[in-house]
Subunit: 343 residues, 4 copies
């Protein structure tokens, strides 16, 4: 396994990490979740990502149970969770007013509830799961620093914030002598590149921002499994019942963006074939080639998927400058950076 620093921090994370998004606590049974986490751990993955929102807290519960069962030493692991969407903690939707967002109340109460579900004393990284534009940035920065001071997390990061919001958080943290967000978690893959390669560009040097990306395989499109423009029987997209998957499935046939993406995946296939690797490995290796990336978060509903994904690390060298250029010629989406005199 390759390990990278999480942005400019001293924390080392495996460049591939395992996320518990729609899967653990959701449509993947607890036993399979356990097998996947075990396979990941055995393959050298030390970084496990979850969120209070995933499967209404069940993703955290499952992860907590697995960590406890295998008695993995705490220092072996980097555990992250995300706070913003904890309405399942409330007794009703109307009562959930303060179970969402990034108010000091919810940052404290949300993280406390997460730690109970995880059966942990602390997480390593706590993310602001999306910005909360109704809460002043100073309250957000103070809230996350408060939970760090209390020993419930070592670092805090953001997920799907704009570069302006991240810069603003740093401006306030600097003013208050506090800690700013050390990592952002956006989507990043061959088909979605703008944020990581362009928008966040000024933040890397200035604030040492790290990137942990989700969806490195573009919800599977880049593995080639939709290359026939159809949803394979028995796949997650065919069977899962969470709102996100359901909505993707509903508009699958009419979604022009989806068609364009599948076409790109089809066009990348010859390159993968030529290198003797799977399409998924090609896509994952490409993401990992970006040195700004600290870790690519993969999902898995079967241990074999983890093995295949980790295998990608052996083939990084195959992505030579020439191959990279051929890939660019297919995806045709390389962001153009604007010159900037100062950062």
């Amino acid at each position: 396994m390759e390990y990278r620093h999480l942005g400019r921090t001293g924390l080392k994370v495996s460049v591939i990490s395992l996320g518990g998004w729609v899967t653990y606590g959701g449509h993947v049974g607890n036993e399979l979740a356990e097998q996947c986490m075990k396979a990941a751990y055995d393959a050298g993955i030390n970084f496990f990502d979850t969120a209070e929102a995933y499967a209404r807290g069940d993703s955290e519960r499952v992860m907590g149970e697995v960590i406890k069962k295998f008695q993995w030493p705490r220092c072996d692991l980097v555990i992250s969770t995300k706070i913003n969407w904890g309405s399942h903690n409330a007794s009703s939707t109307e009562k959930a007013q303060n179970c969402v967002g990034l108010s000091r109340k919810h940052v404290v109460e949300g993280l406390k509830a997460s730690l109970e579900r995880l059966q942990l004393e602390y997480v390593d990284v706590v993310y602001a799961h999306r910005p909360d534009r109704d809460t002043p940035m100073e309250e957000v920065v103070r809230g996350f620093n408060h939970v760090i001071e209390r020993g419930w997390a070592f670092y805090w990061g953001t997920s799907e914030w704009t570069s302006e919001e991240i810069a603003d958080a740093w401006r306030i943290a600097d003013k208050l002598n506090m800690i700013g967000p050390v990592v952002e978690q956006p989507q990043y893959n061959l088909l979605t590149r703008d944020k990581v390669e362009k928008q966040f560009a000024p933040l890397y040097e200035k604030h040492g921002l790290g990137i942990t990306c989700f969806s490195p395989l573009k919800i599977g499109v880049l593995t080639g499994k939709y290359n026939e423009f159809k949803i394979p029987e028995g796949s997650r997209l065919a069977t899962a019942t969470d709102p996100f998957t359901t909505s993707v499935r509903a508009k699958f046939d009419s979604d022009e963006e989806m068609k364009k993406n599948i076409q790109a995946a089809r066009d990348l296939k010859p390159i993968a074939d030529e290198l003797g690797i799977t399409q998924g490995q090609l896509a994952l290796a490409w993401v990992i080639k970006n040195p700004r990336l600290s870790s690519a978060i993969i999902g898995a509903s079967k241990p074999e998927q983890i093995t295949e994904n980790v295998e990608a690390l052996k083939h990084l060298d195959k992505l030579t400058p020439e191959v990279m250029e051929r890939i660019e010629a297919v995806v045709k989406n390389k962001p153009v950076l604007e010159p900037r005199r100062f950062t």
Copy 2:
């Protein structure tokens, strides 16, 4: 229910909240108090206000018992208490020297005692119940920040402070990189408007001050129940034995201010009748129309009162600009703001 942010914080509070002033722990029996809190909770009220001073701590005890009994999730609720008058914690009046005021000692000891009575780990908001002009503002600001740091409250506010005192607290909090008071709790109603509409005007934009007001119905005068210039039999004013109510009752017949207020209430009746709402609903709706208000704190000794009050929210639209002008023509007390070039 409508929910608003508490001033510029990320906390969401129901625009109507329930207070436990002379009632819970006082002349209203515990069973009725329980019914009222339940009715409020069921009606979407998430914000419950009390104080160490109310009924010598019994208001907090009753609230704590009710919260415990119904096992309402903590994140459902926004609980506030107020510190300044805890002489009942002492063994005698003379011994109560440090059970009142806003010294670091009493802020810590008072809040600790309140939390024990409430059976809570923390309140959401702790108020300075009146200013303490014998304690330096820096000690007050440090004291409230200290209890926030220790996890006993998320925010602090003031009750019946002047605008200069609030601005001074912010000046010191800013200097010390601390948190200033996010909310003030004054009296505010159709008959008492100066503070909220004029004195505090510069604080809203500058410090994001929120307002939670007490006495939106002017101790019942605006419900019309004294329209006959008499105390109705069986009413709280006729029966309650707390010092405040007793003193109001004693001077009722000779109080010119009271007569003027009752006359205004009588003059507002035709407007309420015309809109097809009660006088109390008109008065409460008028308060809530002020967007500076975060929450109007009502008292209740019967669950029905809560239902009637919450009903007012359905009629906010009836207070059209034209109706608002007719109301102004009755009360004739609209504050005139002085122009100010800078805030």
Copy 3:
């Protein structure tokens, strides 16, 4: 009882307080100590002073037992202790290197040990018992602020520091946004006035320094009990075996300073007689007339002494400007303040 603020803090202390210096835990039996504390408490004294050094910790132990026995509410009481001389915590004199002084280690360990002996969660005020010129002022200021942050004290003060040292502590506290020492505890009485009336003069306005003085009766000289230039049989000075008392006794007959002081006490007798009060009451009332004084700490080995001392408060008015001038004419030690343009 009269209560005053402790310097510029919000804390209220009885203007007469009870100290447990050579007495409690020392030559005064526990039962008498208990009777004295009870008498003091009943007389309205709310402020009890001790130190880790007194009677090798036994003064704290006795005070703790008495507080526990009578179940006095914590908020009734203002308890202070002092840290600097805890060598009795060590297993030998040589091992006591870090059981004395104001290093961060000893401030933390000393106060922890004091709280255990007192059976309290916190004291109200912790004093630096004499300066420690081997420890940098920044470490001292940080140490006392650290124990305040941890909730083990509300305020810190100094005992027998110079005005320059107090000013330096404030300079550093201000720089670090920390809390400076709010009170100094020097000797102050009719015969020793320079520090309180002259040296500390610039600190009262600038830093709001409060004064709690010890020895208001000049170890009894001002009560007139040595007016015959002899040690009365059975008195503490005749019987106590602590090093300080022993050394005073040893040089009693040859001590020119002592003789001068006794002569002054003799000369004050006619004034006391004329006012119809005891010499001790005159001396104590004189100290209390100084508005800079927050509290005068008295010792007592018999409950009657407390009654007599507290009685002095009834006679403050007798010290008219004319009487004050007659007193000055006897003691002839009024400090001359140098003019100062800036403080």
Copy 4:
């Protein structure tokens, strides 16, 4: 025993301290370790140094057991440990990514694990065991201040950092109003002088840096035990199996540096003989003569070694200016300080 302040702190440490490097928990049996610690304690040594790395945590375990067994009062002792190399806490070498270094995670987790092994609530001093150039200095400074705030240590220091790194830590600590490293632990002896006497020169006045040195006898060379250019049978160098000792042994015969050092030791023998002290005592006394040194850390596998070393303190006066010059003439390595106008 002589006690010195640890740099500019208020902490007093014995000028000779006992370290548990390759010895306790390692090749020296627990019973001998216990005898050595007891002998040291009885000889007035109050300062015991260990590290998470020593003997994979066993050095801490042994020390903790001995402290517990003899029930030495905590305030008698100054205990230091070092954090940076805790890979033994992990389940495998690959999993140890975050069990080494000075990330916030490892500083917290490492010290927590050390305290558990030591069975202590806190250490007095926690060292950064070597710099971690992959972690930003701000994270390091914040991490050590965080554990101090939580009450797990009173001071922090460095071990084998460069002067630039120490100065940088202070620059950041000053900016953040935090505590900088108060002590550095380098090698220092007659044969290795550059760091202590030259590189760190600007730091003593500016930051009050203290020095605790290891290897004052140059792994025994300066005791004269290798004067015959041979490893004595039964010595630690002949028998210990830790990697460091093994590597020294392996290259002993071919190591030119070693030969030069032994030659110097041989040349110092006549001076020691003339003064009537052992070569080891001469070397140790020479180190202690440097007033910048707070404590020289000795190792010991037999109680007698401690007695001999402590004996050196009686002979400090024998190192007159003339003797010091003769020593310089033998070692010929006196650093030349460059003039500097400002520090």
